[in-house]
Amino acid sequence: MAVAQAANDYRLGAQAVAEGVYVFSGRNEHFTRDNGGNIVNTGFIVGTDAVIVIDTGPSLQYGEQQRKAIAAITRVPVRQVYVTHQHPDHYLGDAAYADASIAALPATISAIQTQGNALADNLYRLVGGWMAGTQSQSPTSTAQPGAVEIGGRKLRLIGTAGHTAGDLMVYDEASRTLFAGDLVFHDRAPTTPNADLLQWLNALDQIRQIDFKVLVPGHGAVVRDASAIEQTRDYLQWLSTSLHTAAEQGRDMVEVMNQPLPDRFQKLAVHDEEYRRSVSHLYPAIELKSLPRR
């Protein structure tokens, strides 16, 4: 066991996706004790005198290892961290950046303050020792949507919602790289515990207007076209339509969970589990609309 403890190594290798822009790719899986919660994409942008980190991963150890991996690429210090949203796999490494500014949207900060500890506890149950020393902490500042220049890199912060009540995207003007957070999933079924599907679909419309060359989804491989956006849209649209249809047909929640997914979604990683979770999250509100008050 002592050996296993010492071997909590996420083996983070930065992948260059554009000039001065790097991504750490997570696995398209659920949280397990094997992957230690590394199911998420994080990244960083290197400026002249500042590095900007986008999301810090599922644990303190991830954050520390991420920081080390960045230092192996550049000697420029990390000055700014952006947290894309409230989900624990995206920000629990924040404690590794106590000397940097950590910014998020107001809705994200408030969700982390109210639910962060419970989410961290739950992740601890799922992945175990990888979480040692991890504590949920609130971001230190509010991200202001709009243009910002850090270390000579012109960035655009885009505040949206839909996957959660606050979804921050970071766009790098020079490389036209868009860090889309969990508004975009790629070859992995989207998660919906805090989702508003209509808002989310609107956010995807907004993303389609952005002139990007590289898109970094929250989960799944980096893309250079709109395919991941369209895949996410297709799934969410289908999910919304099929849940509303089922409610209008008087289906019970378990019956809805047992419906098979269309063939085109069978290739999405963890589609079975995520679909059932989504029915749990979304069906109660949808079925209420089908039950008139007597």
Partner: protein, 258 residues
């Protein structure tokens, strides 16, 4: 399962002849297919000395893991099993195991609902047929703490104080003589296990034809989720009257037309 049923079959053959005393023991303790630590106690408590068999036709469908421990969806059914007069649903390892009881007088022995779960547990349906035998089926549910001993959301929000017992419902005709009823009632369904909040739940929901004839009767207990949503399949066409009450004697009624 198969071993238990084989044992039962062997016994049934023996019983046709002269019955050796020890054969009865084989019937009394069929092997629990879910290997639950408290099956014997559950059986004693809920089924007493009644004859019972584990029966794969009795299905308890639910997700294998609880996504929301306050609202675990379950659908109980028994395709191929006829003459069911009583349905009992319980979770062996919940602090309050008994979830609901249902008499489908003129209805299929199928019911959909949600319940609060405290920890991983078998969830079982026992269905008594007219011949007095309980047919038991079930499955394991994985969960990790916090359903039954957490306060209801509504109690925290005070929602129910203004809308207690409000009924929303609809009928979906399936085929001649068969219609699905889905209903939702506003009620905190407090278990009494959350600190400072006394037990308070709906305990009976009767479904009747317009002429008063009882179609089905449901008794709900503490683990049924807050603001219960119930689905049943009634052997009936036309309006249904819902009569319900809670353990404080509050009465709730509504009529649903197709």
């Amino acid at each position: 399962m198969s071993r238990a049923r084989a044992a039962l079959l062997v016994c049934a053959l023996w019983c046709a002849g002269s019955l050796p005393a020890h054969a009865a023991t084989a019937v009394d303790t069929p092997v629990d297919p879910l290997n639950s630590p408290s099956w014997q106690y559950m059986r004693q408590r809920f089924l007493g000395k009644d004859p019972m068999v584990f029966d794969a036709r009795v299905q308890v469908q639910m997700p294998s893991a609880a996504e929301d421990q306050m609202q675990v969806p379950v659908h109980v059914s028994a395709p191929g099993l006829t003459d069911v007069v009583d349905v009992l649903v319980f979770a062996d390892l919940n602090p309050l195991p008994k979830i609901l009881r249902y008499q489908p007088t003129s209805a299929a022995p199928d019911i959909g609902f949600r319940f609060k779960v405290e920890q991983s547990t078998p969830v079982r349906a026992a269905m008594r047929t007219r011949d007095g035998v309980w047919h038991v089926g079930g499955a394991w549910l994985r969960a990790s703490g916090g359903g039954c001993t957490a306060p209801s959301v509504g109690t925290g929000q005070g929602l129910w104080q203004d809308r207690l017992g409000e009924i929303s419902a609809r009928l979906w005709p399936q085929q001649p003589g068969l219609e699905r009823l889905r209903l939702r009632m506003i009620h905190p369904m407090d278990t009494g296990l959350a600190a400072g909040i006394p037990v308070f739940h709906i305990d009976r929901i009767d479904m009747r034809a317009s002429d008063g004839r009882l179609l089905a009767s449901l008794q709900t207990y503490e683990p049924v989720s807050e603001n219960p949503v119930i689905s049943v399949d009634l052997q009936h066409s036309g309006p249904v009257r819902i009569d319900a009450h809670d353990i404080q004697g509050n009465r709730f009624a509504a009529t649903v037309t197709p």
